[in-house]
């Protein structure tokens, strides 16, 4: 006798079951929401931090002084040679007069440096890097460029940033992985708990001559629906929380040191990941949870 699979029936059974086991379904959805929120919030904080770090890095640079014997026009022409050096993102020419003006502005009111002759300053390039961790190598390479007399940088700061970024990245990855593992565990646990008192129901179904597949399908749909509902709820909550926290930060951050990424551009990706995770967790969790009960 061939089994007839009526997916409309399975879907409607799965859907019904959600209401029949109202509290259990509610609990499962809540757990899914909680776990997605935890993971989501984390990943978003990490993405923002990463973004901030790369912003800060963009401001990391060193200075290359040009030989005093080279006239200003020729010096300016060195820009192409310098930008050709690997890992140099951009070089910015600064004349000795500009440099003097900058310096004096920084030390304004400090009588010490007043009236230093402009000749002691030299033409220079501010050189911005792609990867701050290769600062030393790049500095050496720039020194090799004909016309560059000397370079000056603060390697400790660069190194500091690299270390902090690496560590922060590692901590974030570890936390997200732990949270993911914990969340999966929590959800699996919840679904197991929620289906625990359906052991008898399943046993009765099997006694009526139902095949395993026939018993399982409604659970799959139930899981999918719960996962979807959880994912969508988590998505909107995540959005709300993100916007609120972002607003709070902007309010606090009067000097706009921190730029919070806008949510919209990430929205679709977040929703996609949430829904996919919800589906996998919901359906997979239900099926795994009832597997043992099917041995009747």
């Amino acid at each position: 006798m061939r089994q007839r699979y009526d997916f409309g029936y399975f879907l409607s059974e799965g859907f019904h079951s959600i209401f029949t086991h109202g509290f259990m379904s509610f609990a499962a959805v809540c757990m899914i929401v909680c776990c997605l929120l935890i993971m989501g919030s984390f990943t978003l904080v990490a993405v923002n931090a990463e973004n901030m770090f790369s912003d800060l890095e963009a401001e990391n640079q060193f200075t290359a002084f040009i030989d005093e014997s080279i006239p200003q026009e020729e010096a300016r022409a060195l820009q192409d040679d310098i930008e050709a050096v690997p890992n140099v993102a951009r070089a910015e020419f600064v004349t000795k007069e500009e440099a003097q003006a900058d310096f004096e502005a920084d030390y304004e009111g400090n009588p010490l440096f007043e009236g230093l002759p402009s000749t002691v300053y030299r033409d220079r390039f501010h050189i911005y890097l792609d990867d701050i961790s290769q600062l030393t190598e790049t500095e050496e390479a720039v020194k090799e460029v004909a016309g560059v007399a000397d370079t000056q940088s603060a390697p400790e700061i660069a190194e500091g940033f690299t270390v902090i970024r690496n560590i922060a990245g590692a901590v974030a990855v570890i936390l997200v992985v732990i949270l993911l593992a914990v969340s999966l565990f929590i959800i699996a646990n919840t679904i197991k708990l929620a289906t625990f008192n359906r052991r008898e129901e399943i046993a009765i179904m099997k006694m009526c001559g139902a095949t395993n597949a026939f018993v399982r399908w409604p659970f799959v749909f139930e899981g999918l629906i719960l996962g979807l509902v959880g994912a969508v709820a988590a998505f909107f909550l995540q959005w709300g929380i993100y916007v609120l926290v972002g607003r709070a930060i902007s309010g606090e951050d009067t000097i706009s040191l921190i730029t919070v990424l806008p949510f919209q551009p990430m929205a679709l990706r977040v929703l996609g990941v949430f829904v996919l995770t919800g589906f996998v967790i919901g359906a997979g969790g239900s099926v795994l949870a009832i597997r043992k009960f099917l041995q009747v």
């Binding site: 099997k206 009526c208 001559g209």
Partner: protein
């Protein structure tokens, strides 16, 4: 057709519930299984439905050899049986109608068949008014009748009933028994566990008496073992 050959059953805690039972029930028979409380009647039923496995001996049910049946074959074997359990086993979260519908769906019946058959069977057991109730909203006897209805609903080859009238008043009991007799006359095999001496004596059928895990008598003709009766 059911065949038990030297069937032994020991439960996990060591209880020897059956100590070598030989029983053959041919297609179309009507058999009463009687015996004192704890003698092993439900154990025999559970063996036949493949709910538990025998510890020894050979067991055949409707052409399936339960000694080495593949797990995926079990549902198909069960579809040849309509079972009324001593503890009813209704799905608590489904209404009476849904319980019957589920049993029909599980064997692949079409929605049309279901719509025709369910009300008919409910009327047979006198529950046509209570199809939309949850099992918890029924009296003990009504729950038992739902269990009976579920066993009948798929028109199985064989009906196995474990005390189908324990919670019913004498008139209802008689009605149900007469219904089962009629079903039997249409060709369905029947195995009925019961304590009701009056019913057993009223229907002149084959009576198998079990005591302490052994069959102690097997005679035809409305006989309830005298030594154990009042």
């Amino acid at each position: 057709m059911i065949r038990l050959i030297d069937i032994q059953k020991s439960y996990d805690n060591g209880t020897k519930a059956l100590k070598g039972v030989n029983l053959r029930i041919d297609d179309g028979e009507f058999v009463f299984l009687v015996g004192p409380s704890g003698s092993g009647k439900s154990t025999i039923i559970k063996l036949i439905t493949a709910e538990i496995a025998p510890s020894g001996g050979r067991l055949m049910v409707n052409g399936y050899n339960l000694n080495n049946i593949r797990p995926r074959q079990v549902p198909f074997m069960r579809r040849t049986l309509g079972v009324i359990f001593q503890d009813f086993r209704l799905i608590e979260k489904k209404t009476v109608k849904e319980n019957l519908t589920f049993a029909m769906r599980a064997v692949g019946a079409s929605p049309r068949e279901i719509r025709k058959r369910v009300p008919y069977v409910l009327e047979l057991v006198g529950l046509d008014q209570k199809g939309d109730r949850m099992p918890s909203q029924l009296s003990g006897g009504e729950q038992q009748r739902v269990a009976i209805a579920r066993a009948l609903v798929n028109n199985p080859k064989m009906i196995i009933a474990d005390e189908p009238t324990g919670n019913l008043d004498p008139m209802r009991s008689l009605e149900i028994m007469m219904l089962l007799e009629r079903i039997n006359e249409l060709g369905t095999t029947l195995l009925v566990v019961t304590h009701e001496k009056e019913l057993v004596n009223r229907f002149s059928k084959r009576v198998v008496a079990i005591e302490n895990g052994r069959i102690i008598s097997d005679e035809t003709g409305g006989y309830y073992n005298n030594e154990t009766t009042i």
